[in-house]
Subunit: 472 residues, 2 copies
């Protein structure tokens, strides 16, 4: 009984899925939180673990690449055919901070499998989606009888994505020769839903800052001094409040400069998706929508830039009251950026705008983390057809629609430095809870990610060579 | 060699001051923080300690008075003359929260004497100023040869002042018979400065609330959801920012209703004080003044009401960044009130004003602590002359000027319930750092407090009887 390539891939995946999940669980136990210095050793352990796993997968090259911050992992598996195109897969092995007391039902670093779900910090963002490529490439080899992938396969898995990838561009520039590729596959995004498989075609950029406002040299009595000296918590609040106008538009001068209008075709692709506000609100754990006036929710999330306060703190936050004028207050802001916005310009505009709003008697410091640029896949690129076909085979021929991603990743740096188109292959769904308590991944979707990865390299070998894919 | 009453008092105080300070230090070691439930046992220990100390001082009655919260201490020492007037001394034995890491140079509950200064939480606010009455009454007896005070002396030392005295009014109402007095002496205020002795003639009232804003059911990804749902930290900031207009006037409707205009005489009394903005700013640990336009700093502090944010918190406040829309945010606000303002009306107005500003999708709760009413001493009351004379003798005949207190205390409840005038006797100075790290008391001033207390009872026995004081 001869097998089709699709059934051969499925058979191989079925035989190896239990071991695959066990290995992923082992990786998820490592709390590779790049934002917290006390976890620096764990981020390194995570990199070492992955490099070893990639060598075991068959990659002849699997190295740790140092940065001034957390290490990245680089792996390479040359195609047999020296003229085969080269594809670079991007992902990250660091994770967001997580603690049981944030609202997790289980320890975020003690993975739990319940039915079809694997709960752990990093299950979906991004260890699960990095790891599906390991079983994917082995299924590709098993189903095709090849001893090396149909394309020269490179992996660059960074360790600082959740900290804004501060050294990523520099890393890519230093290693541009070894990273050279005909296309970049980013596996750090998601799909519309469990029942509507999609391919992402863009991510927003990100600028982040922390602003500290210093008032009195120490907390002072609000009765003895309050009402007669500036209060840094009030100044912090006024700046957050002034960020948006009554139409929820960002007020920082020049913020929207350079953004091309959304085309009718793009708006139609958004509108084709089965958006249901009530179910979206459930996924957002929210009770109402609110955003820039004049745009739909999907347009707000995918095509419009935002300003958000991620944290604010100042003065007494313990039980009961404390009648003080606080000594200081701190605000953490982030700005999601879309194509046409330059992070550097936005940062300068924000810094100037804040400085103008700080009254005499308050000192402030503003510190920006490394910014991430926005990124868009050209809708007419032939490699995008390969990605759509690979997803279609994994999802039993279902129509694959297009989304964008409201989140951010350093994909644009790869596009800029390597001159290669960026494509997205991800199977996470909105309910996976990225950056939230009880992050999880759906195991059946994770295995469809494996399957799409297994199909992708053969297809891309065709489209990237300019010879057309299987259905060309 | 015969002694004058003044030198007899001084001799007695000199002989007993070392033991007096030792005892005070023992009391200050008890961390009687009423705002923190974990210190409830310490507040009780503090009450027990004080009651024992008052019995040792000679008070025939010294009791613990229970409340639904922290206990108060009541003591009574009847005059020999059954027709002598009765004076009630008010103070508090609880203290503000304090922790070494707030910026204290030493442990706030391990008192340190350095030269003329005693550093400890509560050294000035209010244990030191309560305690000076113990040595004061003994010096009074020693200098006059009396075996009981010239007035029937009552002490009510509460245990919840730093928590807004939530049960104080009820306590006073329940015990109104035993508390009956011809005048109330509040020892919970300060003087203008070390070199300008003053008597306080009023305190502001206080309303306090904590507002919690709940948005998403958990922290959610700012890229996936931000800009399309309301952010509770933004809502909190907008409410704090909206509290004041561009003239730094409070915008809550009706906030200023009922406040009588400041008279020219009152403004003159304020203006007579040697106010120096630079040195005041040093005391305030601040770099600039800012407040309601059209008023001097002293007017802002003493005669005008304020709105202040004492604490704000929401979202991620740890190291680095976390790109979330936070699940919730909390704001602690306090309002200083002046004569003419009714705390209940202010609370209703604030609650309504906040409710109007909370957008769909955000839930909020507002909880008010027990309010404190404002309080003013009639400038023409004869007992005020007694206080001024007692202070003048302690301060070697220096002119005693008048101030008010920007802070708050429950004195107005005593005035309302007991129908007695409230007068203030305090020796703390602005640099003592109430509610701040490194709170201290100047020991020489503390002993002048003892001295003023020692002189006051004989003088009040005359003025309150309506027979006039020594110089009448």
């Amino acid at each position: 009984m001869s097998e089709t390539p699709d059934s051969a891939v499925r058979t191989y995946i079925r035989q190896h899925s239990a071991a695959f999940v066990d290995e992923l669980v082992e990786w998820l136990r490592i709390p590779s939180v790049s934002a917290q210095p006390e976890h620096a050793g764990d981020v390194r352990r995570s990199a070492d673990w992955l490099a070893a796993a990639l060598r075991e997968t068959g990659f002849p090259v699997a190295e740790i690449w140092e940065t001034p911050g957390a290490p990245a992992v680089y792996a390479e598996w040359p195609a047999e055919d020296p003229d085969a195109p080269t594809v670079l897969v991007y992902g990250h092995h660091d994770v967001q901070p997580a603690a049981r007391e944030d609202g997790w039902d289980t320890d975020p670093f003690d993975p739990v499998v319940t039915g079809n779900r694997l709960y752990a910090r990093g299950a979906a963002d991004d260890k699960g989606q990095v790891f599906f490529h390991t079983l994917g490439v082995r299924a590709h080899l098993a189903a095709t009888g090849r001893t090396a992938p149909a394309v020269t396969l490179k992996l660059l898995i960074e360790g600082e994505e959740e900290s804004g990838s501060p050294h990523f561009r520099d890393l890519v520039e230093r290693h541009a020769g070894r990273l050279a590729a005909d296309a970049v596959i980013v596996s750090d995004t998601g799909m519309w839903s469990e029942t509507t498989p999609t391919v992402c075609t863009g991510m927003r950029g990100l600028a982040e800052c922390e602003i500290t406002f210093e008032g009195p040299g120490q907390d002072i009595h609000s009765g003895s001094f309050g009402g007669a000296v500036p209060n840094p918590a009030t100044v912090a609040a006024r700046i957050v409040a002034a960020l948006h106008d009554e139409d929820e538009r960002v007020t920082v001068p020049g913020f929207y400069d350079g953004i091309p209008p959304l085309t009718d075709a793009e708006r139609r692709l958004f509108a084709e998706l089965p958006f249901d506000e009530e179910s979206w609100l459930r996924t957002a754990h929210s009770r109402a929508t609110l955003g820039e006036h004049g745009w739909t929710t999907l347009e707000r999330l995918w095509a419009r830039p935002t300003a958000e306060v991620n944290g604010i703190g100042g003065g007494y936050q313990g039980a009961g009251g404390k009648t003080i004028v606080p000594a200081s207050a701190t605000v953490k802001l982030s700005f999601r950026l879309v194509a046409g916005q330059e992070p550097e310009k936005i940062e300068r505009a924000v810094a100037d705008w804040v400085a103008e709003r700080v009254p005499a008697g308050i000192r402030h410091r503003i510190a920006f983390s490394a910014a991430t640029r926005p990124c868009l896949t050209p809708l007419d690129h032939p490699a995008l057809r390969s990605v759509v076909r690979a997803m279609g085979r994994a999802f039993d021929g279902e129509t694959i629609r297009f989304t964008r991603e409201g989140g951010s990743g350093p994909a644009a740096d790869l596009q800029d430095v390597l001159g290669a188109p960026v494509l997205f292959l991800g199977i996470s769904v909105p309910s996976d809870g990225w950056h939230a308590p009880n992050e999880k991944v759906e195991l059946d979707l994770l295995l469809k990610g494996v399957e799409a990865s297994a199909h992708l390299w053969e297809d891309l070998a065709g489209t990237l060579r300019g010879t057309g894919g299987p259905d060309a």
